[in-house]
């Protein structure tokens, strides 16, 4: 197929899978803009680097636009749409020129993919840019499996684990099978499902600090299930939920580690202690 086709320049018009094939045929690398997410940026850079590694290993060129800060969800979910828009406009600009936007978070990816169109519904002039951004935005594991058709990760990670499905990823983006598929061939890793895998952990952004008591009750239900499962590691795809679950496990003195799934998939779990743990020898 001749490479001169103009359609190559109009990526949103092309189905994701087709785009990957076209790029491979053209020997052209996909440019993926990493939406780092504020929690990964501030709290746990190792997740960002794990995501970069997974994307680069899959053949993508990864860029990290410096103008990004946050997706705007805290403001959006608080009803502060003006403030949310201020931040969201930055994201729209920052990622205009990449082929795909990938976030190691179902919550932030869901914000961009499903809620930006709602947020900007009253700005028709921006509709095309918002729709284009939404169309090319993916949660990390979903991007690896659904777009890049990656095979399960190879390697060894001997641990009894369980997986927490974050609400936004699960219900807004259909992230459920993808992380489990990518984990399925890791030697030694056994995944036990807990009954409440799909039940909210009680994080909910500002909810967890505004309604602390209710949030505690919710995360306790999750933590009880985790403890009963015998799992020694909780994996998930969203730092908010993972920090909440880890924090409650630790407060209750339960020796269960919590990690972002990207770290395990990238084989970089040794790069950082588990969430809320220290690598300083006492």
């Amino acid at each position: 197929m001749p490479c001169a086709s103009d359609t190559c320049r109009h990526r949103p018009l092309i189905q994701p899978g087709v785009q990957v094939i076209l790029n491979r045929m053209h020997d052209e690398q996909l440019t993926v803009g990493l939406f780092v997410t504020c929690l990964v940026d501030l709290m746990r850079p190792s997740v960002g680097f794990a995501a970069v590694k997974l994307l680069e290993n899959a053949g993508c060129r990864v860029v990290v636009p410096a103008q990004q800060t946050c997706c705007g969800q805290p403001a959006f979910n608080s009803g502060a749409s003006v403030e949310a828009k201020t931040v969201a406009r930055q994201v729209i600009e920052a990622f205009r020129d990449v082929d795909y936007v990938v976030a190691p978070s179902g919550s932030c990816a869901g914000m961009i993919k499903t809620h930006y169109p709602e947020l900007f519904a009253d700005e028709p002039a921006r509709a095309a840019a918002v729709a284009a951004l939404a169309a090319k935005t993916y949660e990390l594991t979903s991007f690896l499996v659904d777009v890049l058709r990656q095979k399960p990760a190879a390697g060894t990670y001997p641990v009894a684990a369980t997986y927490h499905d974050s609400c936004s990823g699960l219900r807004e983006l259909g992230v459920k099978a993808q992380p489990r598929y990518l984990l399925s061939k890791l030697e030694g890793l056994s995944l036990t499902e807990i009954p409440s895998a799909e039940t909210c952990c009680g994080f909910g952004g500002l909810f967890c600090v505004k309604y602390t008591d209710i949030s505690a009750k919710m995360v306790d239900a999750k933590v009880d299930d985790i403890a009963a499962s015998g799992a020694k590691l909780v994996l998930g795809g969203d730092m908010g939920c993972l920090m909440n679950i880890a924090g409650r496990l630790q407060r209750r003195g339960l020796a269960v580690e919590v990690r972002h799934v990207a770290e395990v998939l990238a084989g970089s779990a040794d790069d950082a202690p588990a969430i809320g743990e220290s690598d300083v020898r006492p």
């Binding site: 709290m43 746990r44 800060t69 608080s78 039940t199 909810f207 505690a216 924090g247």
Partner: protein, 474 residues
């Protein structure tokens, strides 16, 4: 009913500390969701039926005036009466007038959420009548002078011991030493007492799950059969229903019924589904001589044209309550008014105003489970967000939160400033938290650290490290 939604946070805290309540909620959890799942697994077309149900309601609401007038005409043709009531006051007054007209002494009542919404029992009592709730759960909470804590299982918050205690306190004519430890004994006692009420009632008040425009019929579902005895035995039947209950045809009702019980209790169909059309006819041996339908608006016509119009598709199955982790944590009373759970958090501010109820839409993680299970595909999280927006726009919300959001937006909207501020912040916190990896306490973060440890940041931001790494690459 006076709203206590403005003290939601305190209500919730009390609920979380209420051991019998927590035991009841623990018992309740899982039951209905598991049964619902099993029922849906037996009906592969369930999701397609949800689409059909939504389409029926949307089509009806798009011509609600026409269907209501058609319903009215058919009720009148069948010999019944229709009363249009704009608000709770008008509905209460109409019911009281009708009870007076009937010379009512005993009034039986079958569970009706509209009855709760217009606080009909209090109004009847104030007018000198004694309405008797006949649904077992409603009867129990009436004895206890409580509001329902769930829209389909009103006494779900109680233990059998609490029920036994109430029965002993109120059924004084019965031997004090009678055994009442098991639910069966309590049911037998309630059945015997309520049977006398049914047989002597002059007026029966029921709600309606649907109204059918084609035939002028009211549709009522129960499992106990109490609604049928309530409406068949007295001289007068009063049906109180809100305007969005109308559907066009019997077929449309059938489609909604396929969704209702499965979503609610996981039954395929409730035991009794009753289609009632007008009063007793010429040679009928039973049935009420007079049949009245009250069509209540109470804010619904206002919702119709706005962002909450889709809420009018709600069929009151309770699935959103049954699957809501917040409802499961605090129970129904914490919500402070008639309708709890996600549907209540949308409906309550719409019916009684956002002032004093804005905690309800905020007290949700927006986890989306309610929308996922809603048979009518009502976008509850979107509506909760819309209410948050409305509240924020009208200056609602705690002042520190508003100030915080403004400051956050100022910084997050200026990447250079954001990098500067966050870089400094994570460096300090990283150093402070390095030894333990987390904080048990942190000034300004007590909302978090009151109940959980806070992971310490790694000390450098990803952006800083990335810039460094890429500089090195170059």
């Amino acid at each position: 009913m006076q709203s206590k939604a403005h003290t939601f946070t305190a209500n919730a805290r009390a609920a979380l500390a209420d051991e019998p309540l927590q035991a009841a909620l623990a018992r309740f959890q899982g039951g209905f969701p598991v049964k619902r799942r099993a029922a849906i697994d037996r009906l592969p077309e369930f999701d397609a039926l949800r689409d059909a149900g939504k389409a029926i309601k949307d089509a009806t609401l798009a011509n609600l005036d026409i269907y209501l007038e058609q319903f009215e005409a058919k009720v009148i043709a069948a010999g019944g009466h229709v009363h249009w009531c704009e608000d709770a006051d008008a509905a209460r007054q109409t019911v009281i007038d009708l009870c007076r007209e009937a010379g009512a002494k005993t009034i039986t009542k079958a569970k009706s959420m509209i009855g709760e919404e217009i606080a009909i029992n209090e109004a009847l009592a104030a007018a000198g009548f004694t309405p008797i709730e006949t649904d077992l759960g409603e009867y129990i909470i009436q004895l206890r002078d409580e509001a329902p804590s769930h829209i389909i299982v009103p006494a779900v918050h109680l233990s059998k011991e609490q029920v036994a205690e109430s029965f002993r306190a109120h059924h004084r004519d019965l031997p004090a030493e009678r055994p009442l430890s098991e639910p069966q004994a309590m049911l037998d006692e309630a059945r015997a007492i309520l049977r006398q009420a049914f047989l002597t009632a002059d007026v029966g008040i029921t709600g309606a799950n649907m109204l059918i425009a084609e035939t002028g019929s009211t549709v009522l579902v129960t499992n106990e059969g109490n609604a049928d005895l309530t409406q068949t035995l007295p001289r007068m039947q009063i049906v109180i229903a809100s305007i969005e209950k109308v559907v066009p045809t019997l077929e449309d009702a059938a489609t909604v019924l396929r969704l209702l019980a499965r979503s609610a209790t996981g039954q395929e169909l409730s035991v009794y589904t009753t289609f009632t059309t007008g009063p007793k006819r010429g040679d009928d041996l039973d049935g009420p001589a007079a049949f009245h339908v009250i069509l209540l608006d109470n804010g619904r016509s206002r919702m119709l044209g706005g962002p909450f119009a889709e809420m009018l598709r709600c069929i009151r199955c309770g699935a959103c309550l049954n699957h809501c982790p917040v409802y499961s944590a605090v129970g129904g009373h914490a919500y402070g008014w008639v309708y709890p759970g996600p549907m209540g958090s949308v409906l309550t501010p719409n019916l009684i105003g956002l002032a004093g109820t804005s905690d309800l839409p905020n007290a949700s993680t927006l986890c989306g489970r309610c929308e996922e299970v809603c048979p009518m595909r009502i976008p509850l999280p979107r509506m909760l967000r819309q209410l948050r927006q409305d509240a924020f726009a009208s200056g609602g919300g705690p002042k520190p939160m508003r100030a915080g959001l403004a400051a956050w937006a100022f910084v997050a909207g200026r990447p250079w400033l954001y990098r500067l501020a966050t870089g400094l912040g994570v460096r300090i916190l990283g150093l402070l938290g390095r030894r333990h990896g987390r904080f048990r306490r942190l000034p300004g973060a007590s909302g978090w650290t009151a109940v959980r440890d806070l992971p310490a940041p790694a000390g450098r931001t990803f952006q800083a490290l990335w810039t460094e790494r890429n500089g090195a690459r170059r």
